[in-house]
């Protein structure tokens, strides 16, 4: 069984220019903030935003580049006491906070491979792309578990 056969094809995506306010508005009714693919042009996947990245708004200097710097103290920002103005909602865009290094899975990968990657990277969800890097859907651990239950006849 290939990933593309069980993945969710209806995915809410955002663009690089989507503002923080729009991001929060779109997902305001969700139970938890999902893994949101950032796309450009013809559905090409350029980044992902997770709830972890939302916290980056509180830590403006936690940029990708500083990740390689040795011996840096972790910043302890008290998110309950942090001060910022209303404009942050429209000044910060998805591109500023998105993760540019991420794992995406090929559409023709097997479910076993997808599950192995989830365990290896401690992730529960991956974007699914084709060879050209275009986003086709999302596959999560629940899609795989549901497939197994279906196979055993627990659900139809």
């Amino acid at each position: 069984m290939q990933v593309k056969e069980v993945m969710s094809k209806e995915v809410i995506t955002v663009k690089r220019s989507t503002t923080l306010k729009q991001l929060l508005d779109i997902f305001t009714t969700f139970h938890v903030f999902p893994l949101v693919p950032v796309i450009e042009g013809d559905n090409v996947l350029v980044g992902i935003v997770s709830f972890r990245n939302l916290i980056n708004v509180f830590q403006p200097h936690q940029s990708q580049m500083l990740k390689t710097v040795p011996f840096l103290d972790e910043e302890e920002e008290d998110i309950f006491k942090v001060e910022f103005t209303e404009e942050v909602g429209s000044l910060v865009v998805a591109e500023d906070i998105m993760e540019k290094k991420f794992v995406a899975i090929q559409e023709d990968a097997s479910l076993e491979e997808a599950y192995k990657l989830m365990k290896l990277h401690l992730k529960e969800e991956f974007p699914v792309v084709n060879r050209a890097g275009r986003l086709l859907g999302m596959v999560g651990i629940f899609d795989i578990v549901r497939y197994i239950f279906r196979q055993k006849g627990v659900i139809k």
Binding site: S63, M65, V69, F71, K119, L120
Partner: protein, 397 residues
């Protein structure tokens, strides 16, 4: 005190002293270093000899891990992103300190060339922890801050290259002082050490990448990555190649093979902090207080000319790349602190040149303490002059 008790004591004392020093806005690195000096053989003698004896081992491992991690900077994406100002300024401030300190030691202080070169190379390092802490504390933002962050992020990569080249030359000079074809030997040995490290890093990177497909869990990924980093360090030591360069090339080649290789770097972050703590405490413990009073002139010259070299280099880099006036004038002041990479390089020098190593290492430790204490003030001054300080003592200005 037995070894394990000693280790437990160092880890816990390190943790609490870091918390304490954090209250007066100094980075954890400074706390570890001061703790090492205080509990080390020079003062309270609380660290067991077994642990002091393992300093070389710990520093090789820590430097290998750091060099591997710094190698990530060499991705094509990264160079495109950081821009020409940061590249020019970082290369020239590192080279500025290297050249100036080497010349001053050689000409003014009449030190042998190999010692001057080692001091010069170590002086090119910068420790970003204190600088970044100041930037965060004052919520600095703007073009100056962005350029400064870019420079401190990439600076250690240049330092490792400069140190590897200088070390190779210094070793060749001190080993073949009387040999015929002196220059040819120096040149040949240096090239061998650097080129060999490149080949080794490349071969190990390719092996690591292809074997990684058999990994199944995060635990395996961690063990696998650590294993390969150790393997690379070990082979480099065995073949007498540059450990720093071999690991930096391993990281650099890996990051360019495939975008998803960032996992190898991220996984090491889960285990590196206790090792780093141990490394700094042991660095502090290795300070020989007895030598301190004989270092006066050397220490002073190093303290002053390292900063002058960085100021001139950064100013020149900013001018060439057309950066703003405030970057040209003040950016060098954000590069005053030195710590981990400088200490690591000094420890390598200490083991490679046992006769003069103690003097080199003690100079670097003593100047590190001074730089770590005055560095934050210099950074704050530079940020204020550049007009990028947003918060002053908790108030918006």
């Amino acid at each position: 005190m037995n070894t394990i008790l000693g280790l437990g004591f160092i880890l816990l004392a390190g943790l609490f002293s870091a918390r304490l020093i954090n209250k007066i806005k100094f980075p954890a690195v400074t706390a570890y270093l001061l703790l090492g000096i205080v509990i080390g053989p020079s003062v309270f003698k609380l660290i067991p000899n077994n642990i002091i004896g393992a300093s070389g081992l710990i520093s090789n491992i820590v430097l290998g891990i750091i060099a591997f991690s710094i190698g990530q900077n060499f991705s094509i994406d990264n160079f495109r992103r950081i821009g020409k100002s940061v590249i020019w300024i970082s290369v020239l401030e590192a080279c500025g300190a290297w050249v100036l300190v080497t010349l001053i030691f050689l000409i003014l202080l009449k030190q042998p060339l190999y010692i001057s070169l080692i001091f010069g190379a170590i002086s090119s390092a910068t420790a970003p922890a204190a600088t970044i802490m100041v930037i965060r504390e004052y919520r600095a933002k703007g073009n100056f801050t962005d350029t400064l962050l870019g420079v401190v992020a990439i600076d250690d990569a240049w330092c490792l290259i400069i140190f590897a080249i200088s070390l190779a030359i210094s070793q060749a000079i001190s080993n073949h002082m009387l040999a015929t074809f002196f220059l040819i030997r120096v040149f040949f040995n240096s090239i061998l050490s650097i080129f060999g490290a490149f080949i080794l890093g490349g071969v190990v990177a390719i092996a690591l990448y292809y074997l990684s497909r058999y990994l199944r869990t995060q635990t395996e990924l961690l063990i696998f990555t650590l294993g390969f980093v150790f393997l690379n360090i070990g082979i480099a030591v065995w073949l007498r190649l540059s450990v720093l360069l071999a690991n930096m090339f391993l990281g650099a080649i890996l990051v360019n093979i495939n975008k998803s290789t960032f996992n190898f770097f991220d996984t090491l972050k889960t285990v590196d902090s206790p090792l780093f703590l141990l490394f700094f405490v042991l660095a502090g413990a290795n300070l020989e207080i007895g030598i301190l009073d004989r270092l006066g002139l050397i220490g002073l010259a190093y303290l002053i000319f390292r900063v002058v070299g960085k100021l001139i280099g950064a100013g020149l880099g900013a001018r060439i790349s057309g950066a703003s006036g405030s970057i040209r004038r003040y950016l060098g002041l954000g590069l005053v602190p030195q710590a981990g990479v400088a200490l690591g390089c000094a420890l390598i020098a200490k083991s490679d040149f046992p006769k003069v190593g103690g003097m080199i290492f003690t100079t670097i430790i003593a100047t590190t303490v001074v730089y770590e204490l005055i560095g934050p003030l210099c950074t704050k001054f530079a940020l204020q002059k550049a007009g990028e300080v947003v918060v002053e003592h908790g108030q918006n200005i």
